[in-house]
């Protein structure tokens, strides 16, 4: 399967303003009112550190990649698109992931496509374009399938993408839908051999009798072609929905986790995997807990964690036994009795778990908070950040409309000092772990004019609504930021807002 550039359905021509990230650790965060943001962390910090200072932003070019405009073109041009009445549904981005250098950014969508963006090459006369990403390759990773035994449709939606560390000129990534993981090779070709005289123009072998000399072919440049090739297909190992994949630091294995089981694979072997966790009760009537996310330790290839719908995290050591049903560490925070309600369990269900780059901490996201755990302390998180605590009194409605089951993800910045996660109304939040400052930003086309400052947003919680504040009741719950990514070493972030991908960059880049 070869698919070449250019991508048909993504435009990179639009401009987008930037916001400013803290420059290093001490950079001030913007606040429209100049008032301190609500203190969300229990660790004490001095009042003085909460003074937020506005800073002007230098306009820098950033791409806003919108898939909205080109639907019609795609329908005509892309035969792989299903004949579906609402094509936009397939365009909804379902995962975003930078590769290990940050040069490439991959997105997966509900239509089973993977789109890879490449960072604009640096050039001396175009300094302002350094943060821009352009479409590099796009391919159909998964197709809708039908399980005839169970009489079930298998969606093509890409649940997760994970890059493998680059070993040679080609790039490799894993993509998964509910059931099947695929290993893709993405490689470039910009030269082709020319000057063979053993074959004619159409590629047929010439009659050897007519060949009197042997010519050595030469490589001639040609238009760059990017090919995506499926190299491995890891299928038939998951009965439930795969929610996570994670590449091990040994670079030879990876794991895939579904609601009840975690499997360990070798990249070279597709016809068998090892089941390392299985929490399926013998009697499904006793099922009260599911696995929600899992990840390998970034440096210790024997260690991984998985989170559960009961708000707990288990750390397992594969050296202990082949089947890691028994955890090595168990992270759980005692329930706060003053906040107990019928929704306590639902909102404590962990939607994402991420090791810090250092491997010392784990970050978990539940419905209302982000927590940072120290691997050496199991009884409570060391930091808790409120993402949108104003929703606490709205849980009934959010249960009614099913929003309470939304699975928000969370990411670390390159130095593990800032964490980012999404919210509703196209808002996303950042928390500086050192200064304890936090900011709410909005990824939307309406509110961000070209080269303008991306203003911090504020949600009004009780009392009088100030100018520039938005009241809880007017938040749009259909616009949710579930997936974000942070460049591994720079202050560049990618934010997926339904079918739009925003890339924001710090001005110092």
């Amino acid at each position: 399967m070869l698919l070449s550039l250019p991508a048909l359905h993504l435009q990179t021509s639009e401009y987008h303003p930037l916001f400013q990230l803290p420059h290093g650790r001490l950079g001030p965060w913007c606040s429209p009112t100049g008032s301190p943001a609500p203190l969300s962390c229990e660790t004490g910090c001095g009042e003085g550190s909460w003074i937020l200072v506005c800073r002007l932003l230098v306009p820098t070019q950033v791409s806003l990649l919108s898939m909205e405009e080109d639907i019609d073109t795609r329908k005509i041009n892309n035969s792989f698109l299903r004949d579906h009445s609402y094509a936009t549904e397939a365009d909804i981005i379902s995962t975003v992931e930078f590769n290990h250098t940050g040069e490439l950014l991959a997105t997966g969508d509900k239509g089973g496509r993977v789109v890879i963006f490449q960072r604009e090459q640096e050039s001396k006369n175009q300094v302002h374009r350094r943060g821009e990403y352009n479409v590099y390759s796009t391919f159909q990773s998964h197709e809708p399938e039908f399980d005839y035994l169970k009489s079930l449709e298998i969606e093509e939606k890409i649940n997760k993408i994970r890059w493998l560390p680059q070993q040679n000129a080609a790039y490799f990534l894993l993509s998964t839908n509910d059931k099947t993981v695929k290993l893709w090779k993405v490689s470039e070709r910009d030269k082709r051999p020319e000057g063979y005289n053993l074959k004619d123009e159409e590629g047929r072998l010439r009659d050897p009798a007519t060949i009197t000399t042997l010519r050595v072919p030469v490589l001639r440049p040609m238009d760059l072609m990017v090919e995506a090739t499926p190299r491995r297909v890891f299928a038939n190992a998951h009965t439930y929905h795969i929610n996570s994949i994670s590449v091990n630091s040994d670079y030879e294995t990876y794991m895939s986790a579904d609601d009840l089981r975690i499997n360990l694979w070798n990249f070279e072997i597709t016809n068998q995997s090892f089941n390392i966790v299985d929490i399926k009760p013998a009697n499904m009537e006793e099922l009260t807990e599911v696995i929600t996310a899992a990840e390998f330790h970034p440096h210790h290839c024997n260690t991984f964690v998985y989170s559960s719908s009961k708000g707990t995290i288990r750390l397992c050591d594969m050296r202990a036994s082949a089947l890691c049903d028994r955890h090595t560490k168990f992270f759980e925070e005692p329930e706060d009795p003053s906040n107990r309600s019928f929704f306590s369990e639902i909102i404590s269900s962990i939607s994402d778990v991420k090791f810090s780059h250092s491997g010392r901490y784990i970050m978990t996201r539940d419905y209302l908070t982000v927590k940072v755990w120290d691997l050496n302390m199991e009884n409570r998180p060391i930091e808790t950040y409120q993402v949108h605590d104003y929703l606490r009194s709205k849980l009934c409605s959010l249960y009614e409309n099913d929003c309470i089951f939304d699975k928000f993800e969370c990411v670390w910045n390159g130095s593990d000092s800032v964490i980012m996660t999404g919210s509703y109304n196209n808002f996303f939040r950042m928390f500086d772990r050192n200064t304890k400052r936090d900011v709410t930003l909005e990824a939307s086309r309406e509110n961000s004019k070209p080269r303008a400052i991306l203003k911090p947003r504020k949600v009004c919680v009780g009392g009088k609504r100030r100018k520039d504040e938005i009241s809880v009741d007017s938040l749009d719950f259909s616009k949710k930021i579930l997936h974000t990514a942070w460049h591994p070493s720079e202050n560049i972030i990618a934010v997926a807002a339904t079918n739009n991908l925003y890339i924001f960059q710090d001005k110092v880049n």
């Binding site: 099922l287 309600s341 369990e345 849980l395 009934c396 249960y399 099913d402 259909s478």
Partner: protein
Amino acid sequence: MTRMMFARGLKRKCTEDEEAAPSYSRQRQSLLDMSLVKLQLCHALAEPSLCRSVLIANTVRQIQEEMTQDGAWRGAAPQTTGRAPLDRLVSTDLLCRSVRDGAGDGPAAPAPRGLQSSIWEGDGPLEDKGSFQKSLDQILETLESNTPLSVDELFSDVDSSYCSLDAVLTGVVGGAQSGQDGLEALAAMAAPAPSTSCKSDLGELDHVVGILVET
């Protein structure tokens, strides 16, 4: 706030208050009903999210446990009539707040008619915890086996997508509420935007709800 006062357990006469301000037990009942509808719709879907189903089932268990302790459970069963559940899907923000102290509400007024007996086909009026447990287990079992129950057929004309599930649920609520407060407005507003294609027409919705509550 009046609601908070009820939450703290003012003695009240159920006849007057039922319509004016929903009591804790009433809200709890409506939450239970809502959860049961969700579970039911869940397994009408081709492949429900297991995580969501488990969380809802745990919520149902929790409510049931509390109601059993209250003695409210037994009262909940007998009077199953008409379209009551519709009227009771009211704002239940009391439940979001905090634990109610056990003594607070007192034994709940005979909680209105239960939806359960109609959902669990052929189970008849719910008599005790046992048969409820059985029903719940049945649902969980179905989650695993994906074998359609007969009730599924009732939903067969409903497009099995997340969207329509949501539309049905929010539709049930929206249609039933006349007194708009902030919370309801929120719920209404929060209905998914891309719903032009999946707005169930009201007739169909009524049909579905009718089946659900029919005895």
